[in-house]
């Protein structure tokens, strides 16, 4: 059986994903410190509203409320033993919303990072990471997710562990990483490095890409990096709606719907197939993005200068894919490495 997302990717040359989950739930009254995933059980009406917001704004794909649904993340709320249940609920609510929409909408089961550093640098072993992702993947699958959606990953090892878990659950998946440190992931992976990593996996994703990170400009530079690496695999762009600002006790993102509409069109021109938002992206932003994607003809891939001019400057001079990045001159002899 062909995956519904794979089918859509064959018939459409762009798809719109959803916007922010955290920002939206916060606006619905989620208190800082509460686990969003608990609302799948306690406030299913609000989660329905969250999903419907994206679907009604024209999203072809939306992510389930299960980002922090791994055992290690739920442990904080003493809900580690509810991992399967909460993930299943997240997907079940999503299935209902998608099936009631009257058109084909993909329910993507969100899987966020475990929050732990993987071995040998940190304590989390590959096996333990796979096990946690597997448990989450099975919940999402059994709740009716069309595809699994791994996001905001920094470590290549964690991405690979999630891939393996998706395979064990017998599910197709998509996977994005967060490029937030000098154009790379926190662990130093470049866009080119991720493109290479993806092709090496036994269970490669249907689409790969970038989400969150710094601003929309950096995210587009990353997309250009993926395309330059030469892979034909569909690319995902899910950028933040600008930069967070603090105002009267609330966080507010400074990216306007107009700006996100420009971003969406530029992301497509840069070579992204699945385009959405991340933190700060509301249904209002999504509507503007959808309209712009429908009404604007395709153009040439934007140059870095054009991206900076329209969406703002980059957070760093280089993203590590060229030789223009900063370097360190060694003061003494480098040791022979065995």
């Amino acid at each position: 059986m062909t995956n519904p997302l794979a089918e859509l990717l064959q018939t459409r040359d762009w798809l719109m994903a959803d916007g922010a989950t955290g920002t939206t739930l916060f606006n619905m009254g989620l208190q800082s410190g509460d686990a969003p995933e608990l609302w799948n059980a306690d406030h299913p009406d609000r989660i329905t509203a969250l999903y419907k917001g994206a679907v009604d704004a024209g999203s072809d794909i939306f992510l389930t409320n299960s980002f922090g649904g791994t055992r290690s993340r739920l442990k904080l709320h003493n809900a580690q033993d509810r991992a399967y249940e909460l993930n299943k609920l997240a997907a079940e609510i999503g299935r209902e919303v998608a099936d009631a929409s009257g058109r084909r909408v993909i329910v993507a089961g969100s899987m966020g990072p475990t929050g732990e550093i993987m071995a040998p640098m940190g304590p989390l072993t590959h096996e333990a990471a796979v096990e946690m992702f597997h448990e989450q993947a099975e919940g999402l699958r059994d709740g009716g997710a069309d595809v699994l959606w791994v996001e905001t990953i920094s470590a290549p090892e964690e991405y690979a562990a999630a891939a393996q878990a998706c395979a064990m659950a017998g599910m197709d998946w998509c996977g994005t990483m967060s490029f937030d440190t000098a154009g790379r992931t926190m662990m130093g992976l470049t866009s080119a490095g991720m493109a290479e990593l993806v092709e090496k996996l036994d269970h490669a994703p249907l689409a790969y890409g970038a989400n969150c990170g710094v601003g929309a400009s950096d995210l587009l530079r990353t997309v250009l990096g993926f395309r330059a690496a030469g892979s034909e695999r569909p690319v995902i762009a899910k950028g933040n709606a600008g930069i967070p600002k603090y105002h009267d006790g609330h966080i507010h993102y400074d990216g306007t719907p107009e700006l996100m509409a420009r971003y969406a069109v530029m992301a497509r021109d840069a070579g992204a197939t699945i385009i959405g938002g991340c933190c700060g992206t509301t249904p209002e932003h999504l509507r503007a993005m959808r309209k712009a994607l429908e009404e604007t003809p395709r153009g040439a891939a934007p140059a870095l200068e054009e991206i900076a001019e329209v969406l703002g400057g980059f957070s760093s001079g280089s993203d590590g894919t060229d030789d223009n990045g900063p370097k360190r001159e060694r003061t003494s002899r480098r040791r022979a490495k065995g």
């Binding site: 916060f26 640098m121 790379r184 926190m186 990045g325 022979a336």
Partner: protein
């Protein structure tokens, strides 16, 4: 295998050895750092000099390159691990010799936030810079910060958050310190991916630190300022 000859640390003169230790820290070589520390001790260096000139000096380079996007988290973790090896030897000796305290920090991720990678990095880099660090871990309510400030008496309070949904809690902590009239007893530093300088100012922190390297520089600066003020008042 490389063509390069093996480096015999004990055959290097002091300057060469310190320079080699900088590189070994950079490369995260724990055993070599431990050996270097022991050689300097045998040569009569004071524990405080080894800490500040060899280890902190080396970690400063690591910190600068982390700040500048040359090194990333995995390399910094390896460097910090090597530093830790050296510190384990020096710590008891520093206490014994009554070496001056560079500063003390209580640090923790705020309530609701279980992210600790950034905070751990700050802890390690602060220790690398010679600070004493009390790490409260993740998910700290205002009460746990207050208790630690009371019992530990630090110079600095550090708070971390990686989520836009948890970062406002920093203000709750600072407001509580103000209510109790103890806000100005501490240097309050905040950090985390979604924060920025404007946010730091808005919630009443002394400074927002973009990354662990900046946190160390900022901490040094504020502690020096605090010492100067105390000296001026004395």
């Amino acid at each position: 295998m490389s063509d390069e000859e093996d480096i015999i640390l004990s055959e290097l003169d002091d300057d060469e050895l310190v320079s080699q230790m900088f590189d070994d820290l950079y490369d995260g070589l724990k055993e070599e750092i431990e050996e270097g520390v022991n050689i300097l001790l045998e040569r009569g260096w004071t524990p405080y000099d080894i800490l500040t000139k060899a280890l902190v000096g080396g970690m400063t380079i690591v910190g600068n390159d982390f700040r500048d996007g040359i090194l990333f988290v995995p390399e910094v973790l390896m460097a910090a691990n090597a530093m830790k090896g050296g510190m384990a030897i020096l710590k008891p000796l520093l206490v014994e010799t009554g070496a001056p305290r560079i500063g003390k920090m209580v640090i923790g991720t705020v309530k609701g936030d279980i992210h600790d990678i950034g905070k751990n990095l700050v802890s390690m880099m602060m220790e690398g810079a010679g600070f004493e660090v009390v790490d409260l871990g993740i998910n700290n309510a205002v009460e746990s910060y207050l208790e630690a400030l009371e019992t530990e008496g630090p110079d600095i309070l550090g708070m971390s958050a990686l989520l836009t949904t948890t970062m406002p809690y920093m203000k709750v902590v600072i407001d509580t310190l103000k209510e109790k009239g103890i806000r100005d007893d501490y240097i309050v530093l905040v950090g985390g991916a979604p924060l920025n300088e404007e946010f730091g100012r808005a919630i009443g922190a002394d400074a927002y630190c973009r990354d662990a390297a900046v946190a160390v520089e900022t901490a040094k600066e504020f502690v020096a300022r605090k010492h100067n003020q105390m000296a001026a008042r004395a």
